[in-house]
Amino acid sequence: MSEATRLRVGFIGLGRMGLAMANRLLGAGHDLVVFNRSPEKAADLVKAGATLAPSVKGACEGREIVITMVSDDAALREVTLGPGGIRESLAPGEIHLAMGTHAVAEIQKLAAVHNEAKQILVAAPVLGRPDMAATGQVSIVAGGPSQSVKKCDLLFQVMGRRTFQCGERPEHASITKLANNFMLGCAIGAMAEGFSLVRKYGVVPQVFYEVMTEGLFAAPSYKVYGKIMVDEAYDKVGFTTLLGLKDFGLIMAAAEAARVPLPSGNAFRDRLLSALAHNDGNKDWAVVGREQARASGLE
């Protein structure tokens, strides 16, 4: 890798997704400094040539781009605005690249803060699971000033299969990611209703699954989540009901802020809530299939 394309990158947040993404960057030859609250998670990265920073500050100093991949808005706020955080520690002109799924309002607020500190916020949430992140097969939705997004694109090319440019403001990426999750949730909710209806008329769920996925709905979302419902395999968790509810909280907040009624989203969110009420919060969120069955007197 030439010095021109070798970027000095900081990486904060080494969960399952973050670790896989950091590995991709390191593998591509970028100069990587990492920070994680539990430093032992960084052991393999350090062996492979990354530098472990003792603090957020250490992961910002001398960096051109600092990536955050943290689980929620509170964690993002803490690493960005807290003492020794990114705002205080990143040099003017450099980029904070937020790759988690965050609230639109949070991203807007952080964009303003960075702007004041003459830094740039780019939001680029990721679509995909950890196994896809490990092989660079995730998709990335990016939003921010085009010059900065372009610089980040060198990293996107290594971390993902496809990058979608959403607009000039970081929150454009947040809302696109949330809308994608919204569509998935609604599809799960509708499928659940379909399965309950056919079951009540004596149909084996597998048959309805085949009708859907070999026809109008021949897509990964319906195949994956429909299969979980057919097998009632809700204990094999990809994404939990609790996390789904968290996402739908962000979606509804963004909808309220923009004055967009989302009746389908509300129907699905209520099913998630009922699933929680029945202690299915830690099951895969396809468990709304069971919740719908319950509401239909089938369980």
């Binding site: 679509l127 454009h172 696109t176 379909g194 149909v203 026809g215 009746p263």
Partner: protein, 294 residues
Amino acid sequence: MRIGFIGLGRMGKGMAHRILSGGHDLAVYDVATQATVEFAKGGAHVASSIEDLCKDREVVITMLAEDAAVHEVALGRGGLCASLPAGAIHMASGTYGIATIRALETAHAKSKQTLIAVPVLGRPDLAASGQLGLVPAGPKEALERCEALFKLMGRRIFYAGLKPESASAIKLANNAVLGCAITAMGEGFSLVRKHGVEAKVLYEVLTEGLFAGAPAYVGYGKTMVDESYHKVGSPITIGMKDAILIAGAANLAHVPMPSHDVYLERLLGAIAHGDGDLDQAGLAREQSRASGLE
């Protein structure tokens, strides 16, 4: 086999041609007599009435647009129940409500005939080329007797069960999931548009990711992005007709369907705004309206 076919609309026409090309003895009937002309040329018998059509037939296929029509054809004076020989099969291929299917089933049984429900999945071009999906349900023996016909009309056969209403339930549920997908897409597009993102960007994210390969999203989503609602595949009024059948089926079986209820409400709102003749993707416009975008 000696087959009768009633209802030579865009779908029925293609299906009847497939039966004819399979070498079966075909009699056809349609109230719009001009629809039968091409079949007379092809060697089919053009019946003068339903009663005439039913003579000696082993199987009569109906492909009619509405419950009221199939009701009339089967149970009316000189209809299928009165005219079909004992032991014959009525293959009902449209999309019908549960109550209608149950009424037909009972009436045919009284006349010692058998009802099978075989709703189809696909468009007229697929009907013409025998590439439909078929969802048959009914007594096993009757389904076995009709298998050769299924294979002429369809590429893929999804056996739904031993009761005709099981097939209706699948077809209705499939339409319900489609309606919900259209509604949710409308919501998603309004959401991103209000936040300053072009609808096209979300369309690409959806159709190159989680919803890649799904005609429901690729097709209706494109119509929404282009706002080309006047190019009508299936209009909002037809969606409304089906949604009422779905709600009826849900009521009968005690299945609350909140997402589908949302779809039904959007259909109603669209019709209230004079958009009943638009393509169903036009529900996105109704959602935009509700969001203050129009």
